[in-house]
Amino acid sequence: MSETVILIFLGMIGLGIVLCLLRFLKGPTASDRAVAVDTACTVTTALLVLMALWFQRRIYLDVALVYAVLMFIGLVSVARYLERGI
């Protein structure tokens, strides 16, 4: 039962990443692309937590924590560029 649930989750996460990729390729301005990558980061954090469940290793949750805390800083720098901050 558990494997089926995890496979369904994997399918939905893959769909989310593909939709983010479409917006990334299509978006006319740089800010659209930055928002698309930011959404992909959020979906990816869920994927990492799911991987810790799949591989049965609790220590992989640290990697997901690093993702959730740090990934937005690079895109904050892009946003500060767009509002002429740095």
Partner: protein, 229 residues
């Protein structure tokens, strides 16, 4: 003419790498040195993370060279950028929004604490000095982004960096004379595996590497953010 040369060169490289990759099997047995490290790593160093025991136990001399490269690169960046600086000229920058400033005020101590957690627990969980140093540098990067005009004190940064490097070199030389016959050999008791105070000198070394890498990367960010044009 130029594009033809590029395509021919890329084809040669692609065929070479492809033929070489087809001959390497995927997912089979390890090398013998890897087998030796995973089997006797706990007994030799006492760290439960084998990657940590390879980085600062078996191959600590490589890590010394790596830290030297990082220091030389940061110093070279400072030297290259310092040549073209004009004094008294400032760009007009927009101040950050209220959300970013408030978020930075709440998040900055938490990020420092998180970085310290990563490099103190480097011998138990994934992580270590390099990752912890990068997290601390990201915390300072957030301050640079949210409060334009604030700078890291040069004295504190250089003191931390020198302290880290000095701890690494002195502990290595003490290990060379007291413990064994190689650089950074462990001379403290190993303790119980999977506890915080275990694995001899590995946590001390990782704290030193974390301080060094964090202050070096912060120095790189500081040098790039300065008013250079």
């Amino acid at each position: 003419m130029r594009s033809i040369a590029i395509i021919i060169l890329l084809a040669i490289v692609a065929v070479g790498i492809g033929v070489a990759l087809m001959a390497i099997p995927f997912g089979v047995a390890k090398t013998q040195v890897g087998d030796h490290y995973t089997e006797s790593g706990i007994g030799d160093t006492g760290a439960s993370n084998i990657v940590t025991s390879v980085v600062v136990g078996y191959r600590a001399f490589d890590t010394l060279g790596e830290i030297t490269i990082l220091f030389v690169a940061a110093m070279g960046l400072g030297a290259v950028l310092a040549g073209g600086r004009k004094l008294g000229q400032r760009r007009d920058v927009e101040p950050a929004s209220l959300i970013l400033r408030t978020g930075c005020r709440f998040l900055f101590p938490l990020l420092l604490l998180f970085g310290a957690y990563i490099f103190i627990h480097g011998h138990l969980t994934p992580g270590g000095g390099f990752q912890g140093g990068a997290v601390i540098a990201s915390a300072f990067l957030l301050v640079y982004l949210s409060c334009p005009g604030r700078r890291v004190s040069k004295v504190w940064s250089q003191t931390t960096e020198s302290l880290g490097a000095l701890t690494f070199v002195v502990l290595g030389l003490v290990g060379l004379t007291v413990g064994g016959h190689y650089y950074l050999s462990s001379f403290m008791p190993h303790g119980v595996v999977n506890e915080l105070f275990s694995a001899g000198i590995i946590p001390v070394i990782y704290v030193a590497i974390g301080l060094k890498v964090g202050s070096d990367l912060t120095g790189i960010i500081d040098g790039m953010m300065e008013e250079t044009i």
